[in-house]
Amino acid sequence: MNSESIQWDLEFFLKSRSFQELSPEQQSWVLQQISQPEYESQRWTLLASADYFRADSVPPPPPLERVLQRYERRHPRQGNLSWLAQISTWRVPAWQLTMALICGWLFGQWNIGQHHSGLSLVPQIVYQTDTIVREIPVYIGLTSKGKASYQSASEEKAAGQTHSSPSTRPRGTTNSIARDRDLLDLTVGMQ
């Protein structure tokens, strides 16, 4: 029999009967564990402590309502709050930064929406109807007759024909046709 089981039985004897009330066999068994005075002392301590625990009034626990109130404070009911109050209960650190990020994100979304809403740039081909003629001096060599076929561009400009069209010019010679073609090429080149 080990000491643990002895203690268990000893406790039962201590709680239930005095040393004199034990049978001779029980007394001899108890005396193998502890002395008689020690048995009496432990028995008295055990009973006196139990009496004390029973008699000593323990202060009442806090009321249930207080516990529930603390719970409510920690976990507020969502249904009783307006949406604005709910937002105010959110615990977001650095709310200024958070708000700035949200605003930036919203602006970005709006900007993307604008881009895709039909106002975007569509490439179109614009055909220019007017011809801007820029006259460039063209020097043509003398003909076999020793007479120049055309005046130079500066001379024509001085004569007030800065925007003359090819149709106003004298025609009829090979050189005039070549000049018209040159001007046309230049015009196309400018475009």
């Binding site: 406790e11 005075p37 008295w44 402590s49 323990v58 626990p61 719970y71």
Partner: protein
């Protein structure tokens, strides 16, 4: 507890009515008979249950689980006090009105004995005090105590034996039989 796990708040009220007083008594005895401290810990304990009912294993006994949490809370308090070099305080008992029919000497002896028992309990090692209170105040079984303090039943019995031996030495002067060992 199953109802509470299912979200039934009324079930919590029922549990509180059944166990709050016992938990208050346990904390009161374990934390130096400080009523305010005991109330705070009782509140925290039940708040813990209300917030985390899913932690309870329905295969276990509810009171065992409750005492386990309370026991761990007491250990945390002891650790905190140990860091602060603080000892378990002595109770500041309110002066109770003297009864005219009671013998003043007996009354004084009783008050002295209560103080001596409180001091003796305070001087016990934490593990022994815990087992002693659970066994003789809460009147729990050895097996249940072993589950609460998470140690073998033999260890619980051993702690009880040493606790009783130390208490009886402390309280010998109050023993009316004045047995000298």
């Amino acid at each position: 507890m199953r109802f509470l796990q299912g979200g039934d708040r009324a079930a919590f009220g029922e549990l509180y009515q059944r166990y709050a007083q016992r938990m208050q008594g346990y904390f009161y005895r374990m934390l130096g008979q400080d009523a305010e401290l005991a109330s705070d810990h009782t509140q925290d304990l039940f708040l813990h249950i209300l917030e985390r009912p899913h932690l309870f294993d329905t295969q276990r006994k509810f009171s065992t689980w409750l005492y386990s949490i309370a026991s761990n809370r007491c250990k945390n308090v002891y650790r905190s006090w140990s860091r602060q070099k603080k000892v378990l305080p002595l109770p500041e008992k309110e002066q109770q009105p003297e009864t005219t029919d009671a013998d003043p000497v007996d009354h004084l002896d009783r008050r002295l004995f209560e103080t001596a028992l409180t001091v003796a309990l305070r001087d016990l090692p934490d593990a022994q005090r815990e087992c002693f209170v659970l066994r003789y105040q809460e009147e729990l079984g050895i097996r249940e105590i072993s589950e609460i303090v998470d140690c073998p039943e033999g260890t619980v019995k051993s702690r009880l034996h040493y606790a009783l031996r130390q208490l009886s030495r402390h309280l010998r002067p109050f023993n009316p039989k004045k047995i000298e060992s």
